[in-house]
Amino acid sequence: MSDAIRMVEKVLSYKYVVFAARLILGVVFIYASLEKIQNPAGFAQAIYNYRMLPEGLINVMAIILPWLELVCGTLVIVGVFVRGSALLIGAMLAIFIVALSSALMRGLDISCGCFTLEGGRGIAGKTLVEDVLLLLCAAIALLHGTRVFSFRRGLN
């Protein structure tokens, strides 16, 4: 059993796997940020539709979150502050997973607000699965991300 775990650990820390994980995270997060940055009011409405945050916090979230996605997505690809970006991406994914699950459980018929704000797709189990896979990529990037194409090995 421990051999199997070691094997998985070895594969997940293989440098091409690590870089692929970073690339996937980066591309997805940069893409996800663009429309939200263009249309903060639309994104605020999408957050409001989840009925989870107090109204007073919604706009702050709608202003900051897309930029956090863009910056972390860029850093995780170019190899600067990879661990910090991976940690933040993981935290964002954890929040998305909680929000999506809660909306699914409450049977909310709302659009996801994940990638696009207009005529967007609804929320579904599929989105949750994608987020869990991305979370795995974030874990790989956090633990092994600095092994390849990284400008620095983190702060000391």
Binding site: A44, A46, E55, I58, I63, L68, C72, R83, D109
Partner: protein
């Protein structure tokens, strides 16, 4: 492991600090910027028009008994809109061809996307103001329409 996490947290704190400054700065300077604190009234739709669910709107559509009014900006209208709909953006001044229909007083069903339902409310109120009597807002927007398999088209025409 603990060491990795400690470094990651340090880096994350720096990233967050920079991002907060950049995001707030950009939001403050751009036209599309939004206020930092919003109230519930910013998100709830206020309109004098009545709501109509997609099922009822679909029946009127099939009987040709209503005109659909897309309240979104032209770029989004072009990408996809309800078949036969006319575009009256909530942000614009021009009511376009709809203005000529006042004497006939058709049933008008305004819609946007679900997340932008307020825009549909704004256009609906403008139509009520200029004299239309039978104006509705499509509840759930374009998404609820498509969820019932009702038709949409691309392009600038209806």
């Amino acid at each position: 492991m603990g060491d990795i996490l400690a470094r990651a947290v340090k880096e994350a704190a720096i990233i967050v600090a920079v991002v907060v400054v950049v995001a707030m700065g950009v939001n403050f300077t751009r036209d599309e910027g939004i206020p930092l604190i919003a109230g519930a009234e910013d998100f709830t739709i206020r309109t004098n028009a009545e709501f109509m669910v997609a099922k009822d709107a679909g029946t009127l559509f099939e009987n040709g008994a209503a005109i659909f009014v897309d309240a979104r900006e032209p770029r989004l209208f072009e990408a996809e809109h309800i078949e036969g709909a006319v575009n009256v953006p909530s942000a614009g001044e021009d009511l376009g061809e709809v203005a000529y229909m006042i004497p006939a007083d058709p049933v008008l069903i305004c819609y946007a996307t679900e997340a932008a339902e307020r825009e549909a409310g704004v256009t609906a109120d403008r139509l009520l103001e200029i004299g239309f009597k039978r104006v509705y807002v499509l509840r759930g927007g374009l998404e609820s329409w498509k969820a019932l398999g009702l038709p949409t088209v691309e392009g600038t025409g209806p």
